[in-house]
Subunit: 339 residues, 2 copies
């Protein structure tokens, strides 16, 4: 039974930071990043360690911007795409913060915001509490783990997405800040019967549609009550599919939902100048785009109410080889502006 | 900053189930399992799919024993050792329950109990709420992913542990039942500087010691207040190391802690009859032992107060190849008997 959890005073974003690689820095939200490394190496000797550095640097920057110490944070949720989520573990271990390891594929950001919000609420929800969420991805580490090392120069299909070399860190604090999480809803696993490992967007779109429709059905709100419905990384293929599904369901007020829809995977790169095919993806995609573009817009009051649904494709190279469908999930959080 | 969260009325175990393979069924807690498959295949065509079946069957049995439908459960947390945690995702997708994917290696059970307890508390903590935690592991799937396929007949070192072919499902319900979670504390990542992939026990022991000492220091309780301090899968090597560390810290009342210590990895197999070297491990180890042996003992009132710390080794085959140390983590929950 899917339930929305509401936080009347909200769980606020105390501070946050985005870190990106070369392509991400060149993209439309590049100027919103707090740190860009044009080498994509972040001073590390392997791509995997480079991703750990993205985690470490993101959290460091968020702590610095929020003027608080790691010791003040009572819960840190993190996850990534590397096997056994080691990018997060090695990058964040030095902070010595109570740790909640997550695996939600590219939906990890929203999953983490839900888990930490609930943890802070269960801990009493007072303003003195701090929680943190960090997610990351690295194109070179992901390609060689899921597909082939970049050096092979493998060709990609048009529906393929570009795993972002990026990460984001978010410090949460109850009843505090101009941008606040006021409702959360975990996602259900959806099987869209997609088996093409190069078409994650199509595999995740049904999950995003399920969460959006289920949310509106349960809370009695309408798409018109929102300025933005932001998905994680459906990219071009998945976003078109999502709008199709939603327009069908809302035949009466066609486009009510799809007019308000945007996708982080459509915001991270410039499709004319960058060869990213269907768009951006990876745990770091929605994290970096949220921190570099949309959260600042909420804090400026330009976006009053928005839904964020990072979307995840639950699969592994083995499950693809074993001909299993790619499962999708799309946890949801409502973010509101508070003057 | 490590904080204990307390649940005065407790988050109770409504029902639970354990599923195991051949070796697990032959072991000391075998008769406590709800289902045993001597073929270890669970009717599936691959070891990975067999582990998904363990997840599905565990949750099915727990639902049946608790006489509730999947539709009544508002949050399901799960995780396993397979890359991208696909065993849980594929095995549990059919239940259509809002899903929280976790990665805590062998600490996933306790991590899940913490996450779901906080979620239920944040949701209002009323008796009508249900949450679920499912964790699993499969020896053959783990061996071929982390080490070598069983068919290779590779030799194992004495410090190596045996990944359990087992799983457990636990349905949680606030203020209900004879066994209740009354306090939780997430773990901090600890680096014991162990790089031997065949000695996870030594890598996890410092994390278990850190959580136990930190818990007692913060809540002002003493080891004497407990009947049992149960770790997940430190096995022989890790358990000896843990007792050494604790006895040193509690020099005054030597053995106060270690006398009360037991380990799930020491309970799952018969060391005289089964060649498991240092003992059991895997996400399914502490889940199966808790469900088959210790939770029933709490419900009978034989154990009045216990601490459970499933222990996790955060690493991957790549991180071992890249010479990174194996990190440890040990989230903690307090379980009490309520008449």
């Amino acid at each position: 039974m899917q339930k929305n959890l509401f936080f009347p005073d909200g769980i606020g974003f105390h501070s946050y930071a985005a870190v990106g690689g070369c392509e991400e820095g060149r993209g439309p939200v590049g100027r919103g990043f707090d740190l860009i490394d044009d080498t994509d190496r972040f001073g590390a000797g392997t791509w995997e360690k480079a991703e750990s550095e993205i985690c470490r640097l993101s959290l460091n920057l968020a702590l610095k911007k929020g003027k608080i110490d790691a010791g003040q944070i009572s819960i840190l949720a993190a996850g990534d795409l590397e096997n056994q989520c080691v990018a997060s573990a090695y990058g964040l271990a030095p902070f010595n913060i109570p740790y909640l390891g997550l695996y939600g594929a590219c939906s990890t950001l929203t999953e983490g915001l839900i888990a930490v919000s609930c943890h802070l609420a269960a801990a009493g929800g007072d303003e003195g509490l701090f929680g943190a969420v960090v997610t990351s991805s690295h194109n070179a580490a992901a390609e060689r783990q899921f597909r082939t090392p970049l050096e092979y120069g493998a060709q990609r299909t048009p529906s393929a997405q570009w795993t972002a070399t990026a990460g984001g860190a978010f410090l949460l604090r109850p009843s505090h800040g101009k941008a606040r999480i006021t409702a959360v809803m975990p996602g259900r696993i959806r099987d869209g019967e997609v088996t093409d490992g190069a078409n994650m967007g199509a595999a995740m779109a049904p999950a995003a549609a399920d969460s959006i429709l289920s949310y509106f059905e349960k809370c009695g709100e309408n798409p018109e009550d929102y300025d933005l419905i932001l998905t994680g990384d459906l990219g071009r293929v998945g976003s078109d599919l999502l709008r199709e599904i939603l327009d069908e369901k809302y035949a009466g007020k066609k486009h009510a939902l799809s007019d308000r829809h945007d996708d982080c995977g459509l915001n991270l790169y410039d499709f004319d100048l960058q060869d990213v095919h269907a768009g951006g993806s990876g745990c770091g995609c929605s994290a970096a785009v949220l921190a570099a573009k949309f959260l600042p817009a909420v804090e400026r009051g330009e976006i009053r109410r928005m839904l964020l649904l990072s979307t995840g494709a639950l699969m592994s190279p083995s499950s693809i080889q074993q001909k299993l469908p790619i499962l999708g999930i799309a946890p949801l959080v409502r973010i509101e502006y508070r003057a």
